[in-house]
């Protein structure tokens, strides 16, 4: 009985003061109203995802068709963002790029999150026990240390070089580079939770190890991992673009923001700014959008901040009602 109460009380994150499904949605929308920057983030990412899906139907031109006669035309009609040195329409390429960038970033980040969390949970769980488990956990941690001591960028390029240049190898490089983050995050969560008494109580009461792990660890660790994920996806897109810029990532003429910037590199010095500037702007805006979403998740996931936010939203709501009443009265 005591085990069940304590488990439910601590394992579930505190819901907002107005409980119930519609309550959460209303709370979320109120948050977006109060913090327009978060709303901006969701809108940006929403647009990018839409473009990734609908690009072939929305783009005015074929993104890989070169019309050599129309090279380096400035933005105007019909080339909204101008053309690059080989005559490809930049606008079409810019809106096609999210398909590749987003796919790689999502795949790489999700793989690293799942693998890293699993390894981290195991490492934390077997840490102080003797035998094979403890040795393996120690080994995993030392491996993560060495991995992180390696210059990140050089490592990513090396992975792509080893596996051959392809989309899969970029995904794997991104996954490798990000795994230690989730590993450490999950491990510290597991270690913290292990120390809590009620987990000991559950263990003594005979609840199986796996049950303890999944119920308590997963629910408590979810919040920081989700926040990390959003920011990570943005960073993974940057890494993909960077790899492509150097030539160790997505190969031309596949539309990808990084390789587009690289292709426009020479033109910028001679004053043709549009082949490089537009893709970079799109890239920056997208990563920015993910960062904003990450911030909003951070606030929503932390019970203390959520409570403070709830107070503020309520105060605003009352002010609005008061103003409306005063306006109606006058």
């Amino acid at each position: 009985m005591a085990q069940r109460t304590s488990a439910t009380r601590i394992a579930e994150p505190e819901p907002p003061a107005a409980a119930g499904g519609s309550g959460r949605l209303a709370f979320f929308l109120a948050l977006l109203r109060a913090r327009p920057s978060y709303a901006l983030g969701y809108i940006i990412v929403g647009v990018v995802v839409l473009l990734a899906v609908l690009a072939p139907w929305v783009a005015p031109f074929d993104p890989v068709r070169a019309s050599p006669a129309d090279f380096l035309k400035p933005p105007g009609w019909p080339y909204l963002m101008g053309t690059d040195a080989t005559g490809m329409d930049i606008f079409s390429r810019v809106i096609h790029a999210p398909r590749i960038d987003l796919a790689i970033a999502l795949a790489g980040t999700l793989i690293s999150a799942v693998v890293g969390s699993a390894l981290g949970a195991a490492a934390g769980y077997y840490q102080t026990q003797r035998g094979v488990g403890a040795f393996a956990s120690g080994f995993v941690m030392r491996a993560a240390d060495v991995l992180q001591a390696f210059p990140v960028f050089v490592f990513a390029i090396a992975v792509v070089a080893v596996l051959g240049q392809s989309l899969q190898s970029i995904v794997i490089a991104v996954a490798f580079v990000n795994t230690p983050i989730y590993l450490r995050l999950m491990r510290s969560q597991v270690l913290a939770i292990r120390r809590m008494r009620y987990v000991e109580a559950a263990y003594i009461a005979g609840v199986s190890d796996l049950q303890i792990l999944t119920r308590h660890v997963v629910t408590n660790a979810m919040a920081p991992i989700l926040a990390q994920l959003s920011v990570n996806i943005g960073w993974a897109i940057l890494l993909t673009a960077a790899l492509s810029f150097i030539g160790a990532g997505v190969e031309a003429p596949t539309p990808e923001w990084g390789s587009m910037i690289a292709m426009g590199y020479q033109s910028i010095i001679t004053g043709h700014w549009w082949p490089s500037i537009f893709p970079g702007l799109a890239l920056a805006l997208t990563v920015f959008g993910f960062a904003l979403i990450g911030s909003s998740v951070e606030v929503l996931a932390d019970p203390a901040r959520r409570r403070a936010l709830a107070g503020e939203l309520e105060a605003r709501r009352r002010l609005r009602l008061q103003a409306r009443a005063a306006g109606a009265g006058a």
Partner: protein, 330 residues
């Protein structure tokens, strides 16, 4: 304009004070309701309450440090004849530490970990009184001796983490006394200390009150301590004062069931203890009841009227007030 007026009137007068925190999608939560308290110079009033009764909020309201988003909803706090709501922020800031001082619980957690004892006492002296460096050092040593800290010269250079619990508590007292304030609030200052240390600290406080005529608001969770040296005792429950009386009258003839419950823990009579302590369940964690007496849920004597009608503070005997429909008679 001097704000250290000496008067014959009460040093502190709280009238109908209410403090509320907004809650999203619902009514604001009142952590303090309808508080009336008048204190004369040199008087010691003990306030007893459990966690969540609002005692810390009471201390903070007097110092005008209610944490946002909470605010003082109703009523006023008049200190030395001046309504604090009418003073500007800078005046109030100067009053803190100089005219009103607070001694807190958990002193080691509240002292700045990066500054020495001498520096922290010196800060208060420097910003409230105009003393030069030499005078500050002299006064600091004097204060450390007053609170019975042995070997004060050495302690000047000690950091908070190097002090024991009792030592840190004394340092905090020294800081509170530095500017010889007229009013001191002790917020749960003796909890967490060893019994012997507790006794020493209480003795110190009593000595200071007697020698300087300082008024002391002594907030605590332990009703037994108030028997030590309080002139009056007040009991706080769910944000309201439910009983207040001169010390002798309170201990000889308590009226409110909650006050008796607190005293029953010390009672020698087994039958009495079983009667009062037997049926109580832990239900106080939820918010106060919206109608009727907030204690009705836990009261062994509760009747229908108690659940329907909110009781007001009534005078039982000269200076002895209780908030109950069916107060206990001897």
């Amino acid at each position: 304009m001097s704000d250290r007026r000496v008067e014959g009137g009460p040093v502190l007068a709280i009238e109908s004070l209410a403090v509320a925190f907004p809650r999203y999608g619902g009514e604001p939560v009142h952590v303090l309701r309808d508080i009336d308290l008048v204190m004369a110079p040199g008087e010691v009033v003990g306030v007893v309450g459990e966690s969540g009764s609002g005692k810390t909020m009471l201390a903070r309201s007097i110092m005008r440090l209610v944490p946002v988003p909470g605010r003082i909803d109703r009523g006023r706090v008049v200190f030395a004849g001046r309504d604090m709501a009418e003073l500007d922020a800078e005046t109030i800031r100067r009053m803190r530490g100089r005219d009103i001082a607070m001694i807190i619980a958990n002193p080691r957690g509240e002292l700045d970990p990066l500054e020495t004892v001498g520096q922290q006492i010196g800060n208060v002296l420097r910003h409230h009184l105009t003393l030069d460096r030499a005078a500050i050092r002299v006064r600091t040593l004097e204060l450390l001796r007053q609170v019975s800290i042995p070997d004060p010269e050495r302690r000047l250079d000690a950091y908070p983490h190097e002090l024991s619990g009792g030592m840190a508590q004394r340092v905090v007292m020294a800081i509170a006394l530095a500017c010889q304030p007229r009013f001191i609030i002790s917020d749960d200052a003796t909890s967490g200390l060893d019994v012997t240390v507790q006794a020493q600290v209480l003795e110190l406080m009593r000595k200071l009150v007697v020698e300087r005529g300082t008024s002391l608001l002594f907030i605590t969770r332990d009703i037994g301590i108030t028997a030590h040296f309080c002139d009056r005792v007040a009991v706080l429950f769910a944000g309201e004062i439910v009983e207040i009386a001169p010390r002798h009258a309170f201990f000889a003839d308590p009226r409110h069931p909650y006050a008796i419950l607190l005293l029953a823990a010390y009672a020698q009579n087994e039958r009495l203890r079983r009667y009062w302590l037997g049926d109580t369940t832990a239900g106080a964690a939820e918010g106060p009841a919206t109608t009727g007496c907030p204690f009705a849920r836990r009261c062994v004597r509760a009747q229908d009227r108690c659940r329907a009608e909110h009781p007001r503070l009534e005078e039982m005997a000269p200076g002895h007030f209780a908030r109950c429909h069916f107060p206990v008679e001897r």
